[in-house]
């Protein structure tokens, strides 16, 4: 599925003295099966933006298009099945008596029969590596486990695009690495992933394309190299190191991922 936002505008508290323009004409496209990173500081509009992707928020201007069709003409439940949105700190919304029940919530809402629901629950829990927690109470789990259950709950809908809003916030580095692996796995399975993150190193490792937001506008969009080398002061560490060497050693190119940066640096210093 091709998800396109065309000149999307959003205003909070319109018409009141507290009116705030959160998005001022954002355009971007998420191609099928790609990992699309969205970066930007607090107040850049990242979270507001992704809530438009499943029409939890309706644009004040511009459009949201799913495969070229205006998303507002689609049935909401259908749209939200195809575009799965995982909020920041999603474990705050766990509510069922068991993990199984919680993950089953979304598939059941889709009207699937119990057998299919069960299959999806098992599959999503397995994908997140928490299959053995199925019978436990979600409230008795550790932070990392809860996070995984919450993500499984959205994956169980079988979305074509999975939008993750700061999925690694508050997690220890080891668990963070595991979630990045999940993102890579999803890409291989043909699921597009929109990754909103303030952690540039993370985005650098998995994104195919990146969009940088600032004050409700897109200030850069393209491949990670294109976006990050534009302003190496605010870039992943790999880019910062490489860009420090570019002037004297232009042959270093524009590596972004850890692996390619090591290779470029090795070639350079004759290691």
């Amino acid at each position: 599925m091709r998800l396109e936002l065309r000149d999307v505008r959003h205003v909070y508290a319109a018409g009141t003295p507290f009116e705030v323009e959160a998005l001022r004409g954002v355009s971007l496209t998420v191609e099928p099966g790609e990992v699309f990173g969205i970066v930007g500081g607090t107040g850049s509009g990242k979270s507001t933006l992704v809530r438009h992707m499943n029409l939890l928020l309706v644009p004040a201007g511009g459009e949201v298009l799913v495969d070229g069709v205006d998303a507002t003409t689609l049935k909401k439940s259908e749209l939200r099945r195809r575009v799965g949105l995982v909020f920041q700190f999603p474990e705050a919304a766990l509510f069922a008596p068991t993990v199984e029940e919680d993950v089953a919530f979304a598939p059941r809402r889709l009207g699937l029969d119990e057998e299919e629901v069960g299959r999806r629950v098992r599959e999503s829990l397995g994908l997140l590596g928490v299959g053995d927690l199925a019978g436990r109470s979600p409230f008795a789990l550790s932070g990392g486990e809860k996070r995984r259950v919450a993500i499984a709950g959205v994956l169980a809908m079988g979305p074509e695009v999975l939008v993750l809003d700061e999925p690694t916030a508050g997690l220890d580095p080891a668990t963070r690495g595991e979630l990045l692996d999940l993102i890579r796995h999803l890409r291989e399975a043909g699921v597009a992933v929109v990754l909103v993150s303030h952690d540039l190193d993370e985005v650098a490792e998995v994104a195919d394309r990146v969009c940088a937001l600032h004050a409700g506008r897109v200030c850069a969009i393209g491949t990670p190299a294109e976006v990050f080398y534009r302003d190496p002061g605010l870039a992943p560490v790999t880019v910062r190191v490489a860009s420090l060497l570019q002037e004297s050693r232009p042959e270093i190119g524009e590596p972004v991922r850890f692996g390619e940066t090591v290779a470029a640096l090795r070639a350079l210093s004759g290691v």
Partner: protein
């Protein structure tokens, strides 16, 4: 919108008054309204109230919005009295419906009183920040500490509630959004269905609130909190001449109203 519903943040002499004076004045007025037995008396108080609203620099339109919730009761009362009260000369007749002068007078009286009660309380909440209200209440209740009434604890609870209500509101919004993203629909079906559809919001909200309370308690204890004993207060309530004046004016208005 940061403040709790009714507080209207603007600078005015009424806003500046000590919250204790305002709370006591409100209590006195509310009780006193039941002592006034003439419509003229109520009208006098109404005029004074209008003057008070003016002094508090609250736009009339916003103030009237405060009265909206009771409009229904007022109308009901008026209709009831007008149609069913039997006193005085008949003013109007239509079939078996009879409207008498006494009914009209009584209706006006009761309606006025309801509106005044709400109006007076409304001025209090519109001109006093919730935190100040909590301070005022704590201070007024503190003599009760001698009879073991937990005045400090009550005030602490109010302050914490005030602190967290906006936060919990945002949390509720977020959880609602998360469940909607998973296909929850809060607007379908009859009242029973809708109530049940709130479970995926209320359960996490409640659990989260308990966890918050735990963490907050840890933080408070870590910062040396051990109840109200030996505690000083950062905020200061100063009862000044103008507060005494406000109280006197209140009592005066009331007296005149009663005498009229």
């Amino acid at each position: 919108m940061t403040s709790l519903g009714q507080f209207y943040p603007v600078a005015s002499p009424v806003h500046d008054l000590d919250p204790r004076a305002k709370i006591v004045a409100t209590a006195v007025l509310v009780a006193g309204l039941f002592l006034i037995d003439s419509t003229v008396g109520l009208l006098f108080v109404a005029v004074a109230l209008v003057a008070l609203v003016g002094a508090s620099r609250i736009p009339v339109r916003d103030f009237l919005r405060l009265l909206r919730p009771v409009l229904f009761i007022v109308v009901l009362t008026v209709v009831f009295q007008v149609l069913f009260s039997r006193e005085g000369t008949t003013v109007f007749q239509w079939g078996f419906l009879e409207v008498q002068a006494g009914g009209l007078r009584l209706a006006l009286f009761l309606a006025l009183r309801i509106l005044l009660l709400v109006g007076v309380a409304g001025v209090l909440t519109a001109t006093t920040a919730p935190v100040e209200l909590a301070d005022g209440i704590e201070d007024l209740l503190s003599p009760l500490k001698r009879v073991r009434f937990p005045a400090h604890e009550v005030a602490m609870m109010m302050t914490i509630a005030l602190r967290f209500i906006p936060t919990l509101g945002e949390e509720a919004e977020k959880i609602r959004g998360a469940q909607a993203a998973r296909g929850a629909d809060f607007s379908e079906g009859g009242p029973l269905r809708r109530a049940r559809s709130l479970v995926p919001v209320l359960v996490p909200l409640t659990v989260g609130a308990f966890r918050r309370a735990d963490e907050l308690a840890e933080a408070m204890e870590s910062r040396g909190y051990k109840g109200g004993e030996g505690r000083t207060r950062y905020r200061e309530l100063r009862f000044r001449a103008r507060d005494a004046l406000a109280l006197c004016i209140t009592v005066l208005v009331l007296l005149i109203g009663v005498l009229l």
